[in-house]
Amino acid sequence: MPVEILMPALSPTMEEGNLSKWLKKEGDAVAAGDVIAEIETDKATMEVEAVDEGTLGKILVAEGTEGVKVNTPIAVLLQEGESSDDIGSAKPAASPKPEASDKSDADTPKETAKDAGGKARQASDEPSAQKEAAKAPAAPKTEAAADPDIPSGTEMVPTSVREALRDAMAEEMRRDADVFIMGEEVAEYQGAYKITQGLLQEFGAKRVVDTPITEHGFAGVGVGAAMAGLRPIVEFMTFNFAMQAIDQIINSAAKTLYMSGGQMGAPIVFRGPNGAAARVAAQHSQDYAAWYSHVPGLKVVQPYTAADAKGLLKAAIRDPNPVIFLENEILYGQTFDVPKLDDFVLPIGKARVHRRGKDATIVSFGIGMTYAVKAAEELAGQGIDAEVIDLRTIRPMDMQTVLRSVKKTNRCVTVEEGYPQSSVGAHIASEIMVHAFDYLDAPVMRVTGKDVPMPYAANLEKLALPNVDEVIAAVNAVTYRS
């Protein structure tokens, strides 16, 4: 049967074009790949190549014709043994818009594609899929398990965050031979911040891998190893340097599971100190919680206590997804009780009520908790009983715990070191507005880092960071005591 040659679309947005020139004439033999015509769009002149071989039987659209719609038949190609008499029976090489089968026909087993392909060309309209294909389904709700019970009588061991992180990695490396750590100075030097102290001695150079100073490269190498099934822990000396690697973290690690239809993912942990240390100025002092929390396909953890650091890092290493694990240099040396258990793993995605209270809710995470906790103590002395929630995980965020608290206290203050615009606190405020508007007795207040690059001068640095007084002032504001 003769084949119709259709006006092709040559870009995602082309709807029509001019048929500027025929390079073959009726009766010419055509091989696949031969240029048969030139068409002109608003952007460029393009060549039309024959896809089938045959003889050009009839030209349906003369050269010089303007405004030829995409998918209009422009010529008929005769196949071997056919003559111009057969032209009437021509069929399109393939129908650009397959007829939708009768939907009421219950016997039709296959859902038809309708005009999915053709739709894509209606570029001036709004995206086709939304128009008729119904609304987007609701995002699935997830609820993390509760923290495991700690048996009564369990010994609590005062442990620094630094030791807790190392213990978590060592335990997981003992448990699973596929777990390894790579990063700058993690092996011979024992860690730039001594988080990997002793790991080289116990696990050897194969599993504790010093890298050159090439964040982009080794982040990608880690993701590739994870795609192959290993369980890498990639240490960034600080997350400030991870900006060199952010393409690999987001485009390669976070999106692969989705782009592969669930076939391939990247079970990897990116960890290291995040946020301001002390007097290291703008390029070394930034909180990335809000940045990474923006991205579907990532989990983002930012612990405060040593117990959470240990339990959540173990969970992160076991997690089949890419996990951003944001630590803090100032917290490394702080000591907290850690339960002495053989396998202490905490659920990612679960907030922890750090202090019970009834008058106002303070939500924070990571080093922000140090301001929140001190503020709550001082407020208690002033007769305000604040509830303090440690988010622990930024993504997926446990809004249920936050909302439950806000519905009780009717007031909320968020605390973080990151910049104010598009901050974690901004997201929390928005969620509370949507889900607990009627419970609010005051607007949600945010305490954040100031909207400036981190200054070096000691006095300015202090001003740029949140502080306890700002948290107290915010709580006073939402409780109308100021």
């Binding site: 594609a113 119904a134 194969k206 050159p212 990608g220 690999q248 782009m259 592969s260 076939q263 391939m264």
Partner: protein
Amino acid sequence: MKAATKKTSAKPKAAADSAAALKAPEPAEFDKDQELAAYRGMLLIRRFEEKAGQLYGMGFIGGFCHLYIGQEAVVTGLRLAMKDGDQMITAYRDHGHMLAMEMEPRGVMAELTGRRGGYSRGKGGSMHMFSKEKNFYGGHGIVGAQVPLGTGLAFANRYRENDNVSLTFFGDGAANQGQVYESFNMASLWKLPVVYVIENNRYAMGTSVTRSSAETDFSHRGLSFKIPGVQIDGMDVRAVKAAGEMAIDWCRSGKGPIILEMQTYRYRGHSMSDPAKYRSKDEVQKMRSEHDPIEQVKARLIDKKWASEDELKAIDKEVRDIVADAAEFAQNDAEPDVSELYTDILR
């Protein structure tokens, strides 16, 4: 002229030791079955790509679509040199690689049309497809990003102490990305089993190599990292296979990474919407008529009387039927269910 100056100029001594010692092997001698296999493999890619171009023109395929037409010998020859277990990873001009790795034409084409029967259930598209089963690791849309990833696959091979090799493909354009050299450094430092296949098709989108690259001999790009490399006629599937065997053996025997610069050519534009005005029609026509990888095999088959025109036509018919079936499936398969919007974000 350039080549002549290169030969006479003094090369750094260390580089000469590691790299210049390596010679491109003679093209492999193919027997009848190998010639026929290569012919069929390359033809499948060509016909598939022609059909993809057609479906794009008809509006069934959206977004970006980069065709591999002209470069078929590179992936076909290298596949013939690989063993099962070796991995492949490439950028966004990836349809040919998937077919060479024996992924189903239906699944690939249905992914191009964004249907549920596609390899990524319609969620990846032309540039993002994977098959764990077939050891194909994508399909990556960011120029050069697959190079650290492919190096990571090699890292995993070494870690697991298996003898698999990662074949990491990238173009002459990606060869200027910084992360490529970060990867070279680590791969060489750690003796990772990775073959870096630089598909030099002469144009990074619309910029010719001479306008984008200070060193246009891409086989030398690893010299500072002590990675040897050779230039290969990427239009001759026998030359590609021989080079592939040499390079894979190199990696498998623990010598670390190696670079194969495959000198090839794409007949079509960078993507479907590229009118390719940066090169002359004569240049394209000359490559097609004098160096076409498929025609070369065809000529040998006929010349040696290993196949008649009719027999080759029968192969063409068989390949066309496969492609037509894939296209038919890809046009009629349903779009993904809307519930797929929120699946596969996290495990």
